[in-house]
């Protein structure tokens, strides 16, 4: 397999980088592009920007942040939050995004996934799923930062979206998000076993052990980190070394 991707996830309430717990209780952290630049220089493999108030305000405010970021960051960037039309996708790409993450618009109209994949390619279409455990080995997909039910079973929904052309899935455990208690291994594994597209595990990383566990046992192809990086709890170099020491294939810098 290609190297495990270590991804910095930056949740945005424009113009700020913010961080919450369970996607709620947001705290302001700083200038997003500056953080992205810092992570790029430290050797992060990708950046994800999520405008977490976009759906609420019916528009996405990532354009300026993306333009600013791509001035000096030369790695793949995913933009998500409030992406609902092909024109939104095009705008994000023009501002420098390589992929878009889609949640609400896909839930409302799954064909949107197919339209994005046909027009821009599957490689640019990331399905974003906010998952909450609803029973033993069952998870329900949510929208609006884990507030709105969809009634969709996560594993079935991802399988369907992959069939429609989604190229990757960004799988956020709302239960674990911001808790630093570790990723939801069972959730990630259930999804990774159901589809052949890459799975990005998001939500809950608090230590290097969590990273190793989600790849070995959860079969994640990529790991999104937020809290652990934004609050500088662990230097990226140390995370990379720990992963390499555990035999995980990480990019050599």
């Amino acid at each position: 397999m290609p190297d495990l991707r270590l991804i910095a996830r930056l949740d945005i309430k424009a113009p700020n980088l913010i961080k919450g717990v369970h996607l709620e209780g947001l705290r302001k952290i700083g200038n997003p592009a500056e953080y992205a630049r810092r992570y790029y220089e430290a050797g992060i493999d990708e950046i994800i920007y999520m405008d977490i108030v976009a759906t609420l305000y019916q528009r996405n405010n990532l354009g300026d942040i993306l333009r600013d970021t791509t001035e000096s960051v030369f790695i793949p960037i995913t933009a998500g939050g409030g992406v609902r039309t092909l024109r939104d996708v095009e705008t994000m790409m023009r501002c420098g995004a390589d992929k878009v993450a889609i949640n609400t618009a896909a839930v409302k109209r799954p064909q949107f996934i197919e339209e994005v994949a046909t027009r821009f390619g599957s490689q640019c279409c990331v399905l974003s799923v906010e998952a909450k455990q609803s029973g033993a080995s069952r998870w329900e997909a949510y929208t609006d930062n884990g507030r709105e039910h969809t009634g969709l079973d996560v594993v079935e929904w991802v399988r369907r979206a992959a069939g429609l052309g989604a190229g990757e899935v960004l799988l956020t455990s709302v239960d674990r998000e911001g808790t630093r208690k570790g990723f939801d291994v069972a959730l990630t594994r259930a999804v990774a076993e159901a589809v052949s597209i890459p799975v990005i595990a998001s939500g809950g990383m608090g230590s290097g052990e969590h990273l190793i566990e989600i790849v070995r046992d959860g079969h994640a192809d990529a790991v999104a980190m937020a809290d652990v990086l934004h609050y500088d709890r662990m230097p990226l170099a140390e995370i990379r070394e720990l992963a390499a020491g555990a035999g995980l294939p990480v990019r050599s810098l």
């Binding site: 397999m1 290609p2 790029y40 030369f74 793949p76 420098g96 821009f120 490689q123 192809d221």
Partner: protein, 215 residues
């Protein structure tokens, strides 16, 4: 030496990142969909994202296919990126057979669906993979000074299969399958990965390309 680089703009892909990488390397990127501007390019970059057939079709419908061929055939430095690289071959097999620009002999085929062990692996091949030299050493090429084993960012489901070994200048490994990562003939280069998204290694490749003499 002119520091102007023309990037072919035929309506596909994230050209902003390619342009930013070029200016980061000290050259001036010019996005153009004008035949005359493209034909006058001293260094030309041909990007490409999406399906093989639709990229060749878009290049043709923008009236730019002949212009690109003229620059290639003049022997000036040309760099194809991703599908822009794949188009340099004879034929693409994505969604039926489509004729390419036929400047490097060979075909563009689906990435093998299994690893060398016969187990299915993920398609597309997405992520950072290590590149290494193939037919010839990297000195005096766009890979000059790059350490073999350096990683670049790939995202593709199809890959070039050049007929002649000497046209493959770099390869990567995907679960035991050797995949063509870069092609070369004279000053014509193509890279399957995205140098504009491959960090300092990718920027070095752009820098080397921009230093190639025009005459």
């Amino acid at each position: 030496m002119s520091r102007e680089v023309v990037i072919v703009d035929y309506g596909v892909g994230n050209l902003r990142s390619v342009a930013r990488a070029v200016s980061h390397c000290g050259a001036e990127p010019v996005l153009s969909s004008e035949p005359a501007r493209i034909e006058g390019a001293r260094h030309l970059i041909l990007p490409g994202v999406g399906a093989f057939g639709s990229c060749v079709g878009a290049l043709r419908s923008h009236g730019l296919l002949e212009s690109v061929l003229k620059v290639i055939d003049s022997g000036r430095p040309v760099l194809g990126i991703c599908v822009g690289m794949q188009m340099l071959l004879d034929v693409g097999e994505e969604f039926g057979e489509h004729a390419g620009l036929a400047r490097i002999a060979g075909r563009v085929r689906a990435v093998p669906a299994t690893g060398a062990d016969g187990m299915p692996h993920k398609i597309p091949h997405v992520g950072w993979s290590a590149i290494r030299p193939a037919a010839m050493p990297w000195a005096d090429t766009i890979f000059e000074g790059i350490t073999p084993g350096s990683t670049c960012y790939f995202v593709h489901s199809f890959a070039a299969v050049p007929e002649r070994p000497e046209n493959t200048i770099a390869v990567c490994d995907y679960d035991g399958r050797t995949i063509c990562a870069a092609i070369n003939r004279g000053r014509l280069y193509g890279v399957q990965f995205h140098p504009e998204k491959s960090g300092p290694v990718g920027l070095r490749i752009f820098g080397n390309f921009l230093k190639m003499p025009v005459d």
